[in-house]
């Protein structure tokens, strides 16, 4: 079975971006890989329609987001908990700062509810507009706005953010 025209090029051109988006949603590279693979397999079957009607990355990203939300709803994977502990902060402080920030950032994201996390990733990692996010998630622009505000408020008030190291946080 041959892949449709342009499919391979699309995959090689967009895979890093798509995988990173999927990782930010799921917090697990293995699940992210499954998610991207599932979305691309779906796109494969409808390639000519997609490339006619839409930009393929819009379609694939939409499948990733909706699949992520439905997986979460069904709790297909439950193993994603906040990263257990931030490494000992006394230990080799400078070298560890980046890694600690990474774990902390993941912990902060993991603490967000499914949809808030999705709007955050789409708005601020994929740089989509509120309208684009609304279309992708099948909700209104108002919902995107309110979910974004809640997610940001939650990030801000999370006490763990105070542990962010190395740089001052913007006010």
């Amino acid at each position: 079975m041959r892949e449709p025209d342009g499919f391979t090029d699309f995959v090689s051109g967009h895979q890093r971006r798509l995988q990173r988006t999927a990782f930010l949603l799921t917090g697990d590279w293995q699940v992210a890989e499954d998610l991207v693979q599932t979305a691309l397999a779906k796109a494969w079957g409808h390639w000519s329609g997609i490339t006619r009607a839409d930009r393929p990355e819009v379609y694939v990203r939409r499948v990733i987001v909706t699949t992520y939300i439905s997986w979460r709803r069904r709790r297909w994977w439950r193993n994603e908990l906040a990263v257990a502990e931030i490494p000992d902060q006394q230990h080799r402080a400078d070298l560890q700062a980046d890694a600690a920030n990474r774990l902390l950032a993941r912990k902060l994201l993991a603490a967000l509810p499914t949809r808030q996390r999705a709007v955050l990733v789409l708005r601020f990692f994929d740089d989509l507009t509120e309208t684009e996010v609304a279309a992708m998630m099948g909700c209104t622009v108002g919902t995107v706005k309110s979910q974004t505000a809640k997610a940001l408020a939650k990030l801000r008030t999370n006490a763990d953010l105070a542990a962010w190291r190395g740089q001052e946080l913007p006010r």
């Binding site: 079975m1 079957g45 006010r171």
Partner: protein, 286 residues
């Protein structure tokens, strides 16, 4: 960009590193060719059935005969729907109601009249939508007992008293007893989601919803493929979604990659009381 936006971007950028390996085209290929795993979501208020693409319309009604029809042209035309034998008055009356409801689901204005032992449909129905009017349209929800690949070019094994079999063009399913039929459905319609995709919405009556809840509650804990519920239309499996939780709502959604025409066609096919037999259509311009 204000402070809040910056926090979000910084947290996101900090959280992600590089993918450990590239996407594998081989794995995608496997997934495309492998049996499509359908999934069902049950909910308190509604259940959602997420199905992959539904089999071609021609598959839906084996043995269905469509007489040659003139190509769709603008303006009304008369389509004659007839059985092998003339329909009885009662059959024709019921079929008229069904066909009229299906036209409505298709969104095509027109009228249906009984003329002798057949029906006269006065509407502009494109040839590819005609199967929605001529199919029997009997829906059966049945639990899957087993599923096996169907070798290309082979016919679906006929159901026997020992085993009810049905196929979807790629797989042979052995199916358990009927849970709900068309009689448990109140309405079917094609609807557009806010995201712009097309779904088929099914509304069950109280008895249908109760039967579905009991059956899904039973099979939800079983091992695949016994946790799948097949949706059979006229003996062909449209979709065999996996039951993820007990259905407690009275409505459901079939979501796939439907085009508008496809969703309407499928929705119309299972609308109304099933026809007494597959009808054939012949038409003439009016």
């Amino acid at each position: 960009m204000n402070g809040n936006d910056q926090i979000a971007s910084r947290v996101l950028d900090a959280a992600v590193d590089e993918p450990p390996r590239p996407v594998s085209l081989e794995k995608i290929r496997d997934q495309v060719t492998r049996r499509r795993r359908h999934r069902v979501i049950g909910g308190a208020a509604a259940l959602a059935i997420v199905a992959a693409a539904v089999t071609a319309v021609a598959m839906m009604v084996p043995g269905m005969v469509i007489r040659p029809v003139v190509a769709a042209q603008p303006g009304s035309r008369v389509i004659e729907l007839a059985g092998v034998e003339p329909l009885t008055q009662a059959e024709a009356g019921a079929a008229r109601t069904t066909v009229a409801q299906r036209l409505q689901v298709l969104g095509i204005p027109g009228s249906v009249a009984v003329a002798g032992g057949h029906l006269k449909v006065n509407a502009d129905v494109a040839a590819r939508l005609l199967p929605a009017l001529t199919a029997v349209g009997q829906v059966q929800f049945r639990p899957v007992l087993s599923a096996a690949p169907q070798p290309a070019g082979t016919l679906c094994p006929a159901p026997s008293p020992q085993a009810f079999t049905a196929c979807d063009g790629q797989h042979i399913y052995r199916l358990g007893p009927v849970v709900v039929t068309s009689a448990g459905l109140v309405s079917v319609r094609a609807a557009r989601t806010p995201a712009g995709s097309w779904v088929i919405q099914l509304q069950f009556n109280a008895a249908g919803a109760r039967l579905l809840a009991t059956a899904t509650g039973r099979i939800v804990t079983l091992q695949p493929p016994a946790n799948e519920l097949a949706i059979c239309v006229d003996g062909v499996v449209w979709s065999a979604p996996t039951v993820m939780s007990e259905f407690t709502g009275g409505s459901s959604r079939i979501a796939g990659d439907f085009t508008e025409a496809h969703a309407k066609l499928l929705a119309a096919t299972i609308t109304g009381r099933p026809l007494p037999e597959p009808l054939h259509a012949s038409s003439s311009r009016q």
